[in-house]
């Protein structure tokens, strides 16, 4: 994945990382950071700073300052204190799989990678919570919990690499968040180091901690309110029974209408994922999961819970599929077949590599009743810009993920990708939708924020930001667009004096 996009990044880069021009200067905070952590855990070489200058988004990497790998909350606190003393910006970072540019450094900030804070500290199955470090990889946590009969419900497709800290910061979702809810519903408490160096526990093991719901506001704040150093997550019991249905349709419209009908019938299945024919063919060639390649679209529907109830729901879903002209309905016969289908769905993005070297994955949400019409519009937009679009998405909650596939070496194609992307966002908003379902705003959607919100609305978002980070030094230049934000985004494009860029 990272390799896939690196070529695009280089070519899209307007201020690509300029390495090797040290000029005999070193960053003055490096020595202090090294003294506070350990010399080998504060990197200042070109390689580390290059790698950590971008994330999985299409956006050009910024310029990373010193890169720190703390092991403890106290070390993170020391970094924040040093940063404050030198009025330096800080960018928290997990696995760098974010798709909105949330983790890219702007203005040569201190990059704080929490990947080594990856201990599962405590698991309490009786009270259904676990304390984990922010660097714990999502799937590692679920693998740890599986033999105990539990799992961590948010399951982003990137779960093999993305971190709990990143999930918290982006309020990430995944296929199974339809029934179980996104990350915010699964975080009880977050220990945060604030920009002023205070260590605060937001939320708690009790359902309604006293005071404002600061835990709830921290989740989804995209690394702008502080650095999460420990997280108490809710454990979800593994369902005793699961049924996975694969429905195929001649048109994606029939698949989308089936989804709308399922929701309208009062069912909340564990997952409802749709893939169009193009992506299904790519997936099938890639992992041979058993998807039909001759259908216009497939719907992967999963119901879980008690055997007695999932049987009823599965029948109901099949009936609604038939009503919408399903070509074929198959129930996964065993765990192996189910696992193969999910592997296909979750590796869809990897499968794209066979088709073109580059892709841009969008993320908007529309009312579920509008899915079919907005999809028509998306194909029309891509056609008009002479681009290939594929659709694989969390249909149950109306969360579209149009994937524009291209070869950035083709002259002018990147501009067309951006134009088509903008039209897709606007088509979603026209249908009563929102800017992002799970990838966040980052730098990607900033420009649309004041099409959606009023200046007053954005000023209020900024009030929250300022309560946590009055100097606007934690992940500056993200989420709130320039003009409404405390940080001057343009200024971040330049690099402070004394910094080796």
């Amino acid at each position: 994945m990272a390799g896939l996009l690196s070529s695009v990044r280089k070519r899209l880069s307007s201020d690509a990382l300029r390495t090797g021009r040290n000029g005999g200067q070193t960053d003055p905070v490096v020595a202090e950071l090294r003294a506070a952590l350990a010399p080998d855990r504060v990197r200042y070489d070109g390689a580390e700073r290059t790698v950590l200058s971008h994330d999985a988004s299409i956006y050009a990497g910024g310029v990373a300052g010193p890169v720190c790998f703390p092991l403890t909350t106290t070390e993170v606190q020391a970094i924040m204190v040093i940063a404050e003393r030198h009025t330096r910006n800080v960018v928290p970072r997990g696995a760098g799989t974010g798709l909105a540019g949330g983790a890219i450094p702007l203005g040569a900030p201190i990059v704080v990678s929490v990947t080594r804070m990856n201990e599962i500290e405590q698991v309490d199955t009786a009270n259904r919570f676990a304390w984990v470090g922010p660097g714990v990889v999502n799937l590692d946590l679920t693998r740890h919990l599986t033999p105990l009969g539990f799992h961590f419900a948010p399951d982003p497709s990137s779960q093999q690499v993305c971190t709990i800290g990143g999930n918290v910061a982006n309020n990430s979702g995944g296929p199974h968040c339809l029934a179980y809810g996104v990350t915010n519903a699964h975080v009880l408490a977050v220990e945060v180091v604030l920009p002023n160096g205070d260590i605060v526990m937001l939320g708690g093991l009790e359902d309604e901690p006293a005071g404002y719901d600061l835990r709830g506001t921290f989740v989804g704040s995209e690394g702008t309110l502080g650095i999460a150093t420990r997280v108490a997550v809710r454990l979800t019991p593994n369902p005793p029974a699961v049924t996975t249905l694969l429905l195929s349709f001649e048109t994606i419209r029939d698949a989308a209408n089936t989804v709308s009908d399922i929701i309208a019938a009062g069912m909340v299945p564990a997952a409802l994922e749709v893939m169009d024919q193009r992506i299904t063919v790519a997936v099938e060639n890639y992992v041979h999961a058993g998807y039909p390649t001759d259908a216009g679209a497939v719907l992967l529907a999963e119901v879980d819970g008690l055997a007695e109830s999932i049987e009823i729901d599965a029948h109901h879903i099949a009936a609604l599929g038939h009503k919408n002209n399903a070509l074929h309905i198959r129930v996964a016969a065993d765990e192996a077949e189910r696992a193969a289908l999910w592997k296909g769905r979750k590796t869809a993005f990897g499968a794209i590599a066979q088709i073109a070297p580059d892709y841009y994955l969008h993320d908007t949400v529309v009312p579920r009743g509008a899915l079919a019409d907005v999809l028509d519009k998306i194909y029309e937009i891509a056609d008009r810009h002479d681009l290939l679009v594929m659709n694989v998405f969390h249909a149950g909650d109306g969360n579209l993920h149009p994937l524009l596939v291209f070869d950035a070496r083709e002259p002018g194609v990147v501009d067309r990708v951006h134009q088509a992307g903008a039209e897709i966002v606007r088509a979603s908003l026209d249908a009563g939708g929102v800017l992002s379902g799970e990838h966040g705003i980052g730098v990607e959607k900033q420009a649309y924020m004041d099409e959606f919100f009023t200046a007053e609305d954005l000023a209020h978002q900024n009030r929250l930001r300022q309560a946590f980070d009055p100097g606007c030094r934690t992940n500056p230049g993200k989420v709130i667009p320039s003009g409404h934000s405390c940080a001057d985004i343009q200024a971040l494009r330049s690099v402070p004096r004394d910094v080796w860029a």
């Binding site: 009786a126 259904r128 309020n171 968040c177 809810g181 915010n184 205070d198 260590i199 605060v200 937001l202 093991l205 009790e206 359902d207 309604e208 006293a210 005071g211 404002y212 719901d213 709830g216 506001t217 989740v219 989804g220 005793p240 709308s260 929701i263 009062g266 819970g305 008690l306 007695e308 109830s309 009823i312 949400v365 009312p367 009743g369 909650d397 109306g398 009563g432 929102v434 800017l435 992002s436 379902g437 799970e438 990838h439 705003i441 004041d450 099409e451 959606f452 919100f453 009023t454 200046a455 007053e456 609305d457 209020h460 978002q461 009030r463 929250l464 930001r465 300022q466 309560a467 709130i480």
Partner: protein, 309 residues
């Protein structure tokens, strides 16, 4: 260019005018939880939030409702389409339920109040209508102002209108009770109960779902005690405690002569009040900074403190 979320509804704009930009002001709901957060300042002008269901789209499982609407009225309209929300049945107005932010006794089955509000519209300290969140069931569009407003007791903004997530009412709801079952074992056995309540002797369980599933759960319970079907939950005591779910048993002696605890959740309705909960200094300072940002002149519901409960 007009922002998509720009407010044009004259009802909301009139409410903002009524709130105005000066002087202490608070919203009066149905006064069912008026005492939460301490006494309000006596000079506070009281206003009422507008009422009425603005837009209910059962197929999307969302409802746009003005905050002066009663929860009873809202739930009556939703039940006609087989839906409900996480707001507690006992609450007065929708705005009051959200501003107080207390979960009901069905939280295991219906979800948390904090997760119910998808979009909020509130009147700010300077008398303007502000929107946070978004209209769809899933959205991460900037900072989560709905989370800030829920449970804020009207001290950072006065709730005017919200979009709530609805959820389906299951085919059957059945309450059973036992005097010889262990509620903590029950919680581990029943997959998705609507509620598990315990008064130190008796355990009540709300089973919900398709009929065969509820029958199967009820059959499973038989190995854990003697059960009878009952009409519903017990009467709740007036003082509400909030504990980590693992601390119900260790606190039993403090609940007074009668209590009902929500097992697996940690809410306890007791006949004595919970000692005030300690809040760490750093968190208190952060709460104060939030208040200063949103209401620097302390005109929104002065006297009330969401931290004092």
């Amino acid at each position: 260019m007009t922002a998509r979320l720009a407010v044009t509804d004259p009802v909301l704009l009139a409410f903002a005018d009524e709130v105005g930009a000066d002087g202490p002001v608070a919203v009066e709901g149905a006064r069912t939880r008026w005492e939460v957060g301490g006494p309000g300042h006596p000079d506070t002008r009281l206003v009422r939030a507008p009422a009425g269901i603005v837009d209910y789209v059962p197929d999307e499982m969302t409802v746009t409702v003005r905050c002066g609407t009663t929860v009873a009225e809202l739930h009556q309209a939703l039940s006609a389409e087989g839906q409900r929300t996480a707001l507690p049945e006992r609450a007065g107005t929708v705005g009051g339920a959200l501003a107080v932010g207390e979960n009901g006794l069905h939280v295991l089955g219906r979800g948390r109040v904090r997760e119910a509000a998808l979009q909020v519209r509130y009147v700010s300290d300077d008398g303007k209508v502000v929107t946070g969140g978004g209209p769809t069931v899933k959205n991460v569009t900037g900072f989560d102002l709905p989370r800030l407003l829920v449970g804020s007791l009207g001290t950072v903004g006065l709730l005017a209108e919200v979009i709530l997530r609805t959820n389906p009412i299951p085919a059957v709801t059945r309450w059973v009770a036992s005097d010889d079952a262990d509620p903590f074992t029950v919680l581990d056995t029943i997959l998705r109960p609507g509620s598990v309540l315990w008064d130190g002797n008796r355990t009540w369980i709300e089973l919900e779902g398709h009929v065969p599933a509820v029958d199967a759960e009820q059959a499973r319970l038989a190995s854990m005690g003697t059960w009878i079907e009952v009409d519903g939950p017990p009467e709740l005591e007036s003082h509400r405690w909030v504990l980590p779910p693992g601390e119900i048993q260790t606190n039993v002696d403090g609940f007074g002569s009668r209590f009902v605890a929500s097992v697996g959740v940690g809410t306890v309705w007791a006949d004595v009040a919970q000692p005030s909960r300690a809040v760490a200094a750093g968190v208190t300072a952060l709460n104060q900074r939030v208040k200063e940002q949103f209401d620097p002149r302390h005109r929104l519901n002065p006297g009330r403190d969401p931290g004092a409960r």
